[in-house]
């Protein structure tokens, strides 16, 4: 006898809204259906009504974790359309932030994987170390999440010698810790027993279903946009594409930790060979009619933007494909013939990113528990008043 159980759009096991409808027989999943759109914000439609520079900030808000991926992918496409070349120092800083973002995203995922597998001390260790890279990103860009460091034609903030030294120092610690996590992730018996063989995706299926990123690489498909279509600085740095051939969640853990180690290598090379000069060139307001396909290796896989311009200051069409959408058909395949208890683990293993956006916010008073619904403008007024009274923030220091 088969049952259908809905998981999501709101469910304790999933942190973001998506609906998975599982047909189960006993404990075994026999069919999976996926329904999206609970968080569809119409970004592609909005982009057609905003100008080139406004869209940079719009694309940054597609995702909260890989915000820099979307804005970089967009910026490098628009720079091609406008026929401008950013200065090399600007590019180095831009892709340094890219790699640091990959580090923070992979560390975040590694913690989530530990948590979903019931290994919460691993989760806490990893997330403690993630603060090192978050502090570095805050030091470089001024923000922890939406860095807003990109501009069309370069970057907005420069690095000084003290910041470079501090970043290099942070990387040493991160590297040491990540080597330890590679050992734990790949050999700790109870953790390995939980994740090995779970969420199997064969190489043939990964290719047929067009899987991307670490999901594809963990099935032994060594595809990485940074290697095959080296954009900007990636043909000047030395790194390897990490792969695994176990085709399961264990493989995805190993691939991501190895990628962390490669990212540290890239960051170090960028920081040591930082060229002197300007960080940005002035971009024109309009772009010539034309079209461009911009590809970028985001932490979760290939990110692709198709941009078409019609000669005005607004794009004719901006098509965005984030890596998670590319991995859904593969996820359906992984879940099939699995167990109910493995759903969160398998689903988390593609590092899904279904972002959130709200227009009205419910405030709950911490003291009385009273709820009040406020308008966005009131919330903004309250936030400004609060920041005005807040003490000046020091640069965070991590005692190591």
């Amino acid at each position: 006898m088969s049952f259908e159980i809905p998981i999501g759009p709101q469910h304790p096991a999933l942190k973001e809204p998506i609906s998975l409808r599982m047909t189960v027989e006993g404990e075994v999943i026999t069919g999976v259906d996926i329904r999206l759109g609970y968080n569809h914000r119409g970004v592609e439609k909005v982009a057609e009504e905003k100008n080139w520079i406004q869209n940079l900030y719009l694309t940054e808000r597609i995702c909260g974790i890989c915000s820099h991926s979307h804005s970089t992918c967009y910026a490098q496409g628009v720079e091609k359309l406008m026929e401008i070349t950013p200065p090399r120092r600007g590019l180095y800083i831009r892709y340094l932030v890219s790699e640091l973002e990959r580090v923070h995203s992979h560390l975040l995922w590694l913690g989530v994987a530990g948590h979903e597998a019931g290994f919460d001390s691993f989760f806490m260790y990893v997330w403690r170390d993630r603060e090192i890279v978050m502090d570095l990103l805050e030091m470089i860009s001024g923000n922890r999440v939406h860095y807003a460091i990109n501009t069309i034609g370069g970057v907005r903030r420069d690095l000084d010698a003290a910041q470079v030294a501090k970043a290099l120092e942070g990387l040493i610690t991160l590297k040491k810790r990540s080597e330890y996590y590679l050992r734990i992730g790949a050999t700790e018996p109870s953790f390995v027993a939980r994740i090995a063989g779970v969420g199997f995706l064969s190489l043939e299926k990964a290719i047929a279903l067009c899987a991307v990123g670490p999901t594809a690489r963990a099935s032994g498909w060594p595809r990485d946009v940074r290697k095959e279509d080296p954009y900007a600085v990636y043909d000047e740095v030395d790194f390897e594409v990490a792969t695994a051939d176990t085709c399961d969640v264990l493989g995805r853990v190993v691939v991501r930790v190895k990628e962390l180690l490669e990212s540290y290598k890239i960051c170090e090379q960028i920081l040591r060979n930082l060229p002197a000069g300007d960080i940005a060139v002035k971009a024109p307001r309009k772009a010539k009619p034309g079209e461009v396909v911009s590809r970028y290796e985001a932490p979760r896989g290939e990110n692709i933007h198709y941009i078409k311009s019609n000669g005005t200051d607004k794009p004719e069409r901006l098509k965005v494909r984030a890596p998670t959408l590319g991995n859904y058909p593969a996820t359906v395949e992984m879940l099939r013939k699995g167990f109910i208890a493995d759903i969160p683990l398998i689903f988390a293993a593609i590092d899904p990113c279904i972002c959130c956006a709200e227009r009205s916010v419910t405030l709950v008073s911490a003291a009385s528990g009273e709820e009040s619904v406020v308008r966005m403008s009131d919330l903004r007024r309250q936030a400004i008043a609060r920041h005005r009274n807040a003490p000046v923030k020091r640069n965070a220091v991590w005692p190591l």
Partner: protein, 157 residues
């Protein structure tokens, strides 16, 4: 194989099935095909050139027609197959028989542009909500979003 050499072999192999091949930048090939040749060309590219990876499908509303772009890539180069279908008769063949991973992208363009993908194995709605009115296709150029008035529950609006 460089892009120029690849274009020569493609021209020889695909003959009149491909109307136009352009190469505006390194690693970017744009091939124009007629809608009726789409599946045949995709199958040919997969079997002869190892084009197995579809990044996404973009649709563009050009006024009288819909332009549909299939972004493929291989480790050597990127193929962008372009086909154009009239708005009056918006039908295009599904390529899922050749590339099974295309299914979500085909479902997406189908509901966003209001075109029909023939022979699609699963043509249900993917992104738009269940109570979305029929005949409303958000990514068409003549579709405008009207923001509904904000109503605050229990408060003065």
């Amino acid at each position: 194989m460089t892009d120029a050499e690849l274009i020569e072999t493609l021209k020889a192999a695909l003959g009149d099935k491909v109307e136009e091949i352009s190469n505006p930048a390194r690693r970017r090939l744009f091939l124009k095909v007629a809608p009726r040749n789409l599946v045949a060309v995709t199958a040919r590219l997969r079997d002869q050139y190892g084009v197995v990876f579809l990044s996404t499908i973009s649709g563009i509303d050009t006024g009288e027609t819909f332009e549909i772009l299939y972004h493929f890539s291989t480790p050597e180069t990127d193929f962008n197959l372009r086909t154009e279908i009239p708005k009056a008769h918006p039908h295009v063949d599904s390529i899922t028989s050749v590339i099974p991973g295309a299914i979500l992208y085909e479902r997406e363009i189908q509901e966003m542009f209001g075109l029909t993908v023939d022979n699609i194995p699963d043509g249900r709605r993917l992104l738009l909500s269940d109570d979305w009115p029929d005949g409303q296709y958000p990514l068409r150029k003549d579709w405008k979003h009207v923001r509904p008035q904000e109503v605050i529950p229990g408060g003065k609006s």
